[in-house]
């Protein structure tokens, strides 16, 4: 009897314990608390290499920097076209070579100092300093003498095309008229930095000044750096000194450097993130079916393609390259394999890049491909040695490579041998042309066809195919000189036609940006570079 009572008490205790645990389950998630307090939790890929805008190179770094800095112009939230930033207006000389920026007088650094034309001048002097070795210094090379200064050919910065006419007027003189100059200004290499702060923590013209730590950092953007814990979180808070602070509605943004897509997706499902950086391929169908309102698929300014090493037989023969290009079933690759809304790529430049869509388009034509292959001396692939296809070790690349291997085998009878290499080994093989065909991708630096097409000029740092065509080089140079926008795009049309005729590359698909996002995030529009200016964002809990 007594024993039974003890047993019963034991069961009661267990029940109470279980209920208390379930009680825990009703707690508020992090995003719900964030909705109340206007705190955005954003997955941001890997840990940023640095927060110095002249040292970093990656997209995830840019996504943090655009909250901390503001350039002369800033991005429109709908389509990223340049709108007034620190400069409230600007004039352009009739020949398109001289830009005069009038800075707003209420632009402030986060320590309260005014942002002046001199600040920009000193910043750009640091940006171009040969000793800093900024990897993006070439973004400034459109400016008069910037390249010469950066390469140490001239040492007098006064000869570079920057001039502070007074505290609030900055004049920029270009080498040539550059129609996309204002778009370039959106890049982080054009953000101003606060020299006195950098000087306090090291030599501003060398790397390694430790000024970007929380507590030291001074910026001029809508937010200021509040916390930086490596591999954990970067917190930025609304800046009280930002000129347009009344428009800023978020109080904080937490950038979470979650490298693993699976981990990030789980954090999203557990209510820890408002928006993810990416979504694993395997999860896309699941979201499409059960949570379409949380799935975000947006066009992205990037192309996935294969490079061909044109210096080695048999692929130095244009006809074989063409046969390969004509027998990739891109539609089915996108629809059945990738399934993330990617678009089949029949040219290099993503359609609609600053109003440009290539007139020349590849097409799929198996009969023609067979004919070309036979003409090259390999009817039905007979006699053609096995071709090696290189990709960096990643599941998604393997699946694509296997599909294409199948297509070439089936349509042309060509044997393709797949090789995968670890990332840096693969980059090294690519650079040294130690491959036959190699997986590649390119994400535009700015919204203009030039960022794709100037890649393949003779000896270009990112050409990496061994391909060279004097007429192509001439056209790219001509485009850089052409002021009239429609005429300039015509020149690009001719260049891309040459590229698609010679085919040192095989375009495969145009990227989309696939991510998960909660419905309460407002002011977020699909943009081609996946930038979303934070000062227009806000959280609307009722939309949840």
């Amino acid at each position: 009897m007594r024993r039974n009572r003890q047993k019963a008490r034991g069961w009661w205790l267990l029940l109470v314990f279980a209920l208390s645990l379930i009680g825990c389950g009703r707690r508020e998630t992090r995003v719900e608390a964030g909705d109340r307090e206007q705190i955005l939790y954003k997955g941001n890929g890997g840990e940023p290499q640095e927060l110095d805008p002249y040292v970093v190179t990656g997209v995830s770094e840019y996504h943090i920097l655009m909250s901390l800095f503001e350039g002369l112009v800033s991005e429109d939230p709908h389509d990223l076209h340049p709108v007034p930033g620190v400069a409230e207006r600007w004039d352009v000389s009739p020949d398109g070579k001289v830009y005069t920026f009038h800075l707003r007088n209420n632009a402030k650094w986060s320590n309260g100092d005014s942002v002046t034309a001199r600040d920009f001048l000193e910043s750009y002097k640091r940006m171009l300093a040969p000793t800093l070795a900024s990897e993006y210094s070439y973004m400034h090379f459109v400016v008069k003498n910037a390249q010469a200064y950066n390469e140490g050919k001239i040492t007098d910065f006064d000869q570079v095309g920057y001039k502070a006419l007074d505290d609030s007027t900055l004049q920029v003189t270009l080498e040539n008229s550059t129609p996309y100059f204002l778009s370039l200004l959106l890049h982080h290499s054009w953000f101003p930095v606060h020299l006195p702060t950098i000087r306090k923590y090291g030599d501003p013209y060398q790397r390694g000044s430790k000024w970007t730590r929380a507590g030291r950092f001074v910026g001029n953007g809508p937010f200021v750096l509040a916390k930086w814990r490596v591999n954990d979180v970067i917190v930025v808070k609304k800046s009280p000194t930002y000129w347009d602070r009344d428009r800023v509605r978020l109080n904080e943004i937490h950038f979470l450097p979650i490298e693993s897509g699976e981990t990030e997706e789980r954090a999203f499902r557990a209510g820890q993130l408002h928006v993810t950086e990416s979504l694993p391929l395997t999860k896309v169908d699941f979201y499409r079916k059960y949570y379409p309102q949380l799935l975000r698929i947006e066009p992205y300014l990037g192309t996935y393609f294969y490079r061909i090493n044109v210096t080695k037989p048999p692929l130095n023969d244009k006809r074989i390259r063409r046969a390969l290009a004509l027998t990739i079933d891109r539609e089915s690759l996108c629809a059945d394999v990738l399934r993330g809304g990617q678009l089949p790529a029949f040219c290099l430049t993503p359609p609609g890049t600053m109003g440009y869509t290539s007139h020349t388009q590849l097409h799929e034509d198996i009969a023609e491909a067979k004919r070309l292959l036979a003409e090259a001396g390999y009817p039905d692939g007979k006699g053609l040695p096995s071709i090696e296809l290189l990709y960096n070790t990643l599941e998604a690349h393997r699946i694509i490579a296997e599909s294409i291997q199948q297509m070439w085998k089936k349509n042309l009878g060509i044997d393709v041998h797949l090789v995968n290499e670890e990332w840096k080994v693969y980059l090294d093989s690519q650079r040294t042309l130690n491959f036959q065909i190699c997986r590649a991708s390119w994400i535009g630096d700015y919204n203009d066809p030039n960022t794709f097409l100037d890649m393949f000029v003779t000896g270009g740092g990112n050409n990496e195919t061994g391909w060279s065509n004097p007429e192509y080089d001439r056209l790219i140079a001509e485009a850089a000189r052409t002021i009239d926008p429609p005429k300039r795009l015509e020149v690009f049309q001719k260049a891309e036609a040459i590229l698609l005729d010679e085919l040192p590359i095989l375009p495969i698909y145009f990227y989309t940006h696939v991510a998960a996002q909660r419905p309460e995030v407002k002011g977020w529009y699909p943009t081609i570079l996946d930038n979303h200016p934070y000062k227009y964002l806000y959280l609307e809990p009722s939309a949840n």
């Binding site: 379930i22 389950g25 591999n231 557990a270 090294d428 650079r431």
Partner: protein, 305 residues
């Protein structure tokens, strides 16, 4: 004893020297470098970057420079995380891994020793079979399956804990369990084996014959000998557990040292690779020394060797 420790300490110096040397040249042999990126860097910029980090000097000179700085305790700047030094990164990440490792170790010891002792006392009973099957399962189910499973149940379905992160005390639970289960399984099997061996020996029978209680026999007589294999295993295991697990840290987004250990190699972050390898080596060597001392204390036979 003092001479033993002093000798062992002196022995570590050439070991560390060899590890540093081999690692230094091994990372340099790998194709690609810290500044090999998808968008190629103009050659002049690349040269200046290499000059800034001293990579333009002859390799042997670089090696001498590195060893010189190492003697001063300076592991150099990280190539990838430009604003941090390797020392800073290790000292920010190690406490996290250490904390997680301690929880994991505590779970592993409580579960592992408990299950192992119970199983050895009731050999071939249901308790033995169940606990050893669980231990087998624990060894076979890798952490990258166990972690997401725990998250699915306790994070996503029940909503009791976060799916990842390292903020509140609650965030510590699942990673500690994942790490702990894995080691608990090994410890349970080793404890059972060690205990069974000791329990069958003559001195235990003598103790029983003299009328010693069951508790006294286990804790006073058997455990000391039975734990020897566990102690030998714990040395390297503790070093592994407190320097962090890449898998557990990635699944739970824990800002520990384990992730640096692996990503540094991917990034060709030369100084970071060397720093983490040396740090790990020092830990393993010290913990092995501790293990040796404990073993001598547990096993009197060793004192005369």
């Amino acid at each position: 004893m003092f001479r033993f420790i002093a000798r062992r300490f002196l022995e570590t110096i050439p070991v560390l020297f060899v590890i540093a040397t081999v690692t230094f040249f091994m990372v340099r042999l790998a194709p690609g470098g810290p500044f090999t990126t998808e968008k190629s860097i103009p050659p002049e910029i690349q040269k200046k970057l290499e000059a800034f980090y001293g990579l333009n000097k002859p390799l042997f000179q670089q090696y001498l420079d590195y060893m010189g700085n190492l003697l001063k305790g300076d592991l150099g700047p990280s190539f990838k995380y430009a604003t941090w030094t390797v020392n800073e990164l290790i000292w920010s990440a190690f406490p996290v891994s250490l904390e997680l490792g301690c929880y994991g170790l505590a779970i592993a010891l409580v579960l592992g020793l408990g299950a192992g002792i119970l199983a050895s006392l009731r050999q071939n009973s249901a308790v033995d079979h169940v606990s050893m099957s669980l231990a087998m399962l624990g060894i076979c189910v890798p952490t990258f399956v166990m972690g997401p499973l725990l998250i699915l149940v306790f994070g996503l379905t029940l909503g009791w804990v976060n799916a990842s992160g390292w903020e509140s005390a609650r965030d510590r639970i699942l990673p500690s369990l994942t790490l702990g289960f894995f080691y608990a399984a090994y410890i349970a099997r080793l404890t059972r084996g060690g205990m069974l061996e000791v329990l069958n020996q003559d001195f235990i029978r003598t103790a029983r014959a003299k009328g010693a209680s069951g508790k006294r026999i286990i804790f006073r007589h058997a455990l000391k000998g039975g734990l020897l294999p566990v102690v030998a295993f714990l040395g390297p295991a503790i070093a592994g557990i407190i320097t962090g697990s890449f898998v557990v840290e990635t699944i739970f987004q824990v800002p520990g040292l384990g992730r640096f250990f692996v990503t540094a190699a991917f990034n060709r972050d030369y100084t970071m690779v060397l720093g983490t390898v040396l740090f790990y080596a020092v830990l393993i060597i010290s913990l092995n020394l501790v293990v040796d001392i404990v073993q001598v204390w547990l096993n009197p036979k060793l004192r005369f060797e």
